[in-house]
């Protein structure tokens, strides 16, 4: 048991270190790179260069340095993902928890509205909105991703809250006439944390590839701004031949998601104690 504890501690430290490194890398990108992320060095001679001393992670189809794009891309990707997750998590938790505590009619209304929005395939909704609105700027794109992703959280939170409210502890609190706002913030939300931690990492893990998926469908972050998503989309036609354009962003996305998950688990354990 002690051993498991120790390895967990190391895991958490590793995760924190990774996230910190990504953060520092993104902020200090101008000093850590030798090329501007949008600079095309020589689109004829230097496109699709595999990793070398001159270009640590190779170059993409426009002869742009993948290492610079990876570091600068962290800004866009992390920014969009964090903003989108914040929007979706806040809204989803609020709707789900309020529905659980609210009178029956409001509960039904909120949950059916959630069902209704869920019944529209997300990609279709995004397509429809983007078709109408054209190329989106950074913040609207993040908010759009967030506001089309909260329904799942709301449903899971509503279900979990229903389960929690049925426990003797919370049933008692309710019977004692604890006001619902207090019930929500003091009793319900803390108990929901394990669910939310999983939901948040899942939402984060979904937001990053979704941004890439939008790039694949020809939408997404405005060129020539780098993002992990449009880095991946660039290798679409020959994914095996240009592995370095796929492997490095995927490693970054996966590493970030895993680290965020490890931290969330650690926090959850702290709260439990």
């Amino acid at each position: 048991m002690k051993e498991a504890h120790a390895s967990r501690e190391t895991g958490v430290r590793l995760a924190a270190a990774f996230l910190a490194l990504v953060g520092v890398g993104a902020l200090a990108a101008p000093w850590l790179t030798t090329h501007a992320p949008t600079a095309q060095l020589d689109p004829v001679a230097l496109a699709w260069q595999p990793p070398s001393a001159a270009h640590w992670l190779g170059t993409d189809s426009y002869s742009r340095d993948v290492w610079s794009r990876l570091l600068f891309g962290a800004r866009a990707t992390m920014g969009i993902a964090v903003l989108a997750v914040t929007v979706s998590l806040t809204f989803g938790t609020l709707v789900g928890a309020v529905a659980a505590l609210a009178p029956r009619w409001l509960d039904a209304l909120l949950m059916r509205a959630t069902d209704a929005l869920l019944a529209i395939p997300r990609l279709l909704l995004l397509l429809l909105v983007v078709a109408g609105a054209g190329t989106l700027e950074f913040a609207p794109l993040a908010i759009l991703l967030g506001s089309t992703g909260w329904m799942m959280t709301a449903r899971v939170v509503r279900q979990d809250s229903g389960r929690l409210l049925a426990t003797p502890h919370l049933e008692g609190a309710r019977a004692l006439g604890v006001p619902w706002a207090r019930l929500l913030t003091r009793h319900l939300l803390p108990s929901l944390l394990p669910t939310l931690a999983v939901a948040a990492t899942a939402a984060f893990a979904a937001a990053v590839p979704l941004e890439s998926g939008l790039s694949y469908l020809g939408l997404g972050v405005r060129t020539p701004l780098p993002s992990w998503g449009n880095l991946l989309a660039d290798a679409e036609s020959q994914p095996l031949a240009h592995w370095w354009v796929i492997v490095f962003p995927t490693v970054m996305i996966a590493g970030t998601v895993l680290a965020a998950n490890a931290l969330a688990n650690a926090m959850e354990r702290q709260w439990r104690r």
Partner: protein
């Protein structure tokens, strides 16, 4: 045991085909993979290249442009449903005599009334035919006798036979009973009865369309027994079907795939002249108020500066390697009227910088973008997201313009949003693609001044020049091909001299075809027209799908 029984006839057939001296080297099944499906099965309603292919397989034209690709006069045309033709003495009426053996797929003979029906379907505005605005030189079509239809022209033009080819006969015995406006939603539109060398067997829109050879066709039995158009919406995996022998043709391979073809020896690559070209059109009008001239781009010096700033040679190499050439002007080199002596502004950043300086854009911000009166030199470019080439070109051009201090903002839009913004004129630059044909009448849609008659409909930048209008009219009505060429070239030169666009690229077509088929000379403008002449190579191994279909 039942499995073996099922396999045996196939095996025997394969053995027979492989060993015995077959009576003819035809047969086989051709699977055409394509990212797009046809939008219609009626010739008068087609708007896309795939639409042309499918409707031309199903329906024969009166006459067809032959391999010389010369659209002027009738020297370049070959008989199809019309066996002979002759001008009346007034030189305005063209009598078309139908082939005695021409039959509809239901066995009825093709008659002169069918030509009238074909014309009527195009002209009926409730059908919304795009061909209507292309045959404005035609006045009417009448029946002289059972087998002779007469095309009455308003005036003589340079390409009367292009018009005649566009009036595709339709079976009057099936069409004339369909009420006005109901053709597109009729049963005929889903199960058409055609006159071509292939008839429709089955169709599942956006997935597959199956054709069978018409064995008693008046032009002879075509080679391949069966064709199928299979839609693969993602080009990367669609082309993978060709590599995996699941498909036999992909008619337009991108350069990266051409490079990958070496790993798939069963596929033969065929190069042919290209008919598509891409340019960046400047908007002459103010995007925020289309009644006014564009504040920056109405100035010739600004357009010239931007033209000088784009390294087209590098762009073409980066996008296509050797499989495209820089565009010379509003034409492709394969066209009869092409003028290879014309030269668009050369890549010259010194000249570009000098021009921009002279226009007062001398200050620079921290990113190196030019400023004048506190405002950055920023231009918005429309780019269609579905066109991978244009999206990639826009990223390269953006960087090239940045080097001379111009900030190009790329508005990448999905197809219809792109078209709507282009037609509304709410942009500074537009990455424009044109699919042209041997006929030069299409120039009227792209470069003539906009008129209510429909000229200049694709003239997105609202370019207006009376010399160009006059030259195009003179060229399209001249009776001597040389005179047409001179006039059209005058129009080309005017458009180029005005720096109306940055002429980007003209790709070469590279088709991939399964090696077991021996194909005749590849028609660059319409490769499917010779598919009836495809033959299975006797020396090559057949695939399971080549087994001759058993009669039902």
């Amino acid at each position: 045991m039942p499995r073996l029984a099922r396999l045996r006839p196939t095996l025997l057939l394969l053995l027979a085909l492989g060993c015995g001296p077959s009576d003819r080297a035809g047969g086989g099944t051709v699977i055409i993979a394509s990212p797009a499906d046809t939008e219609t099965l009626i010739p008068a309603l087609r708007t896309t290249v795939t639409g042309r292919m499918v409707t031309e397989l199903l329906f024969d034209q009166l006459i067809e442009l032959g391999p010389t690709l010369n659209p002027f006069g009738d020297a370049g045309f070959e008989p199809r449903l019309a066996a002979r033709w002759s001008w009346d003495s007034d030189s305005l009426a063209l009598a078309m005599t139908l082939d005695d053996d021409a039959r509809w797929h239901d066995g009825r003979p093709v008659v002169a009334a069918d030509v009238v029906t074909g014309y009527r379907v195009i002209m009926d505005p409730t059908n919304g035919s795009p061909i209507r605005s292309e045959i404005t030189d035609l006045d009417s079509v009448t029946v002289r006798d059972e087998r002779t239809a007469v095309l009455h022209f308003k005036s003589r033009t340079a390409e009367p036979f292009v018009t005649a080819a566009a009036v595709v006969p339709l079976p009057s015995h099936l069409i004339d009973t369909i009420p006005a406006g109901a053709l597109a939603t009729s049963a005929f539109a889903q199960q058409p009865v055609g006159s071509g060398r292939y008839r429709l067997v089955a169709r599942e829109p956006k997935a597959r369309t199956e054709f069978a050879a018409v064995t008693d066709h008046y032009r002879g039995r075509p080679g391949p027994d069966r064709l199928a158009l299979v839609v693969a919406p993602d080009p990367a995996t669609g082309i993978a079907k060709l590599w995996a022998e699941e498909a036999d043709v992909w008619d337009n391979l991108p350069p990266t795939e051409v490079a990958a073809a070496a790993a798939h020896p069963q596929v033969r690559l065929i190069q042919a002249a290209g008919w598509d070209y891409t340019f960046i059109a400047f908007n002459y009008r103010d995007p925020s108020d289309t009644a006014r001239a564009h504040p920056l781009l109405a100035d010739h010096a600004m357009r010239a500066a931007l033209s000088h700033a784009v390294d087209r040679e590098q762009l073409v190499r980066a996008l296509f390697d050797t499989l495209a050439r820089p565009l010379l002007g509003p034409f492709v080199r394969a066209q009869f009227t092409a003028d290879t002596t014309l030269a668009p502004p050369a890549f010259d950043t010194t000249a570009a910088n000098r021009l921009l300086d002279s226009l007062g854009w001398t200050a620079r911000d921290r990113a190196g973008i030019r400023r004048r009166g506190g405002r950055p030199l920023r231009l918005r470019a429309l780019v269609p997201a579905p066109s991978a080439n244009r999206v990639r070109a826009s990223v390269l051009v953006q960087e090239q313009l940045r080097r001379v201090g111009v900030d190009l903002v790329i508005e990448k839009l999905e197809g219809q949003a792109f078209g709507a913004a282009r037609d509304a004129g709410t942009f500074d630059l537009v990455f424009h693609g044109v699919g042209t044909t041997p006929s030069v009448r299409g120039l009227r849609t792209t470069w003539a001044s906009r008129t209510p008659a429909g000229n200049g409909r694709l003239n997105a930048g609202n370019f207006r020049d009376t010399t160009v209008d006059a030259s195009l009219e003179a060229g399209l009505t001249a009776l001597d091909p040389e005179r047409t060429r001179t006039q059209i070239r005058t129009a080309y030169r005017r458009v180029i001299d005005d720096a109306a666009a940055i002429w980007l690229y003209e790709p070469v077509q590279v088709a991939g075809v399964h090696r077991r088929f021996v194909t005749p000379a590849w028609r660059s403008d319409a490769w499917w027209r010779t598919i009836g002449e495809w033959r299975l190579d006797p020396a090559a191994t057949r695939l399971a799908r080549d087994a001759r279909p058993t009669a039902p």
